[in-house]
Symmetry: C3
Subunit: 135 residues, 3 copies
Amino acid sequence: MGNELIEIPVRTNRSNELVNVTGQVQKALTDSGVKEGILVAHVMHTTAAITINENADPDVVHDILLQLSKISPDCREFRHGEGNSDAHVKASLIGNSVTIPVSHSRLILGTWQGIYFCEFDGPRSRKLIVRVMGE
Amino acid sequence: MGNELIEIPVRTNRSNELVNVTGQVQKALTDSGVKEGILVAHVMHTTAAITINENADPDVVHDILLQLSKISPDCREFRHGEGNSDAHVKASLIGNSVTIPVSHSRLILGTWQGIYFCEFDGPRSRKLIVRVMGE
Amino acid sequence: MGNELIEIPVRTNRSNELVNVTGQVQKALTDSGVKEGILVAHVMHTTAAITINENADPDVVHDILLQLSKISPDCREFRHGEGNSDAHVKASLIGNSVTIPVSHSRLILGTWQGIYFCEFDGPRSRKLIVRVMGE
């Protein structure tokens, strides 16, 4: 097992944004020294999430954020006083962790797969925790 | 590795309800004796789910359930005879497990994060299975 | 730990389809020789996903696909040139991996739970990667 939890700080710049963190997560894996196993990346917030999606055309990111805003718009019946319930809903829809197989010290991702930190109530300073399991 | 699977019974009281199970899941972790690793909590049902979201203001839970009912309403074109397809859809949108890093025998959760069992077709007697991996 | 990653090919036949892969995933577990632990099944694509839902009445699968098409329809404001952004959104909503507890060499699934590969932009030849952790 990787000896320590690894913390990845993520700075977001917009209210809704997908930040490609594939490089930082792969670096955390390399630092752990684990060659075969799994990696878990966990978001420490309730108005942010993490997902795997296309790493090539940035229009895909645009379209995902656009559709999420239609799926979880602000709503006059919301009661939560901070006015960010739409972000809480998005966070639970997308999910707050990803688990990725690891082999030969590499994340096993498809050609078009990248890992995105999903900001739904930014801009903020955010934190991702990485745990690597294996040998 | 924790020697045994741990079963957490969850009694729900409404058709749609988010039950905070953070305490029971932390207890399962403590009982496992694992100090460093990950914990997986898995829902054994197809009209329920599990998520991590805000543990402070109960209005967030209200707003999440409200928006989920708009995202996955009942639909006259549904074919499934039990009339609970909206709940099956919600279950797959939210997901039926969470994986959480563990360190110093504690779940690594952010300040505002709690673990919620999500009932979408209650009230029922439900079951959560916990597996802890690590040392 | 299971020594090797196991690859499961999945052939889909429609644009949107849920393919029951429970048997192949259980076989991958059996082949790994792991008796106690967890199994991670990871989709290598960005317009497909994986979920756990009802394995009995095929109408549930119909209803899930129907509702997902309403939740993430095609949209004239989408920019991505391939015209499959609806599929990218569905992939991130459902998620690209499942993590399942394992005990006595069996997947710990509820009576009604089956594992479904979710095709959202088919028909295509797809790939699922399985990693088993444990002893």
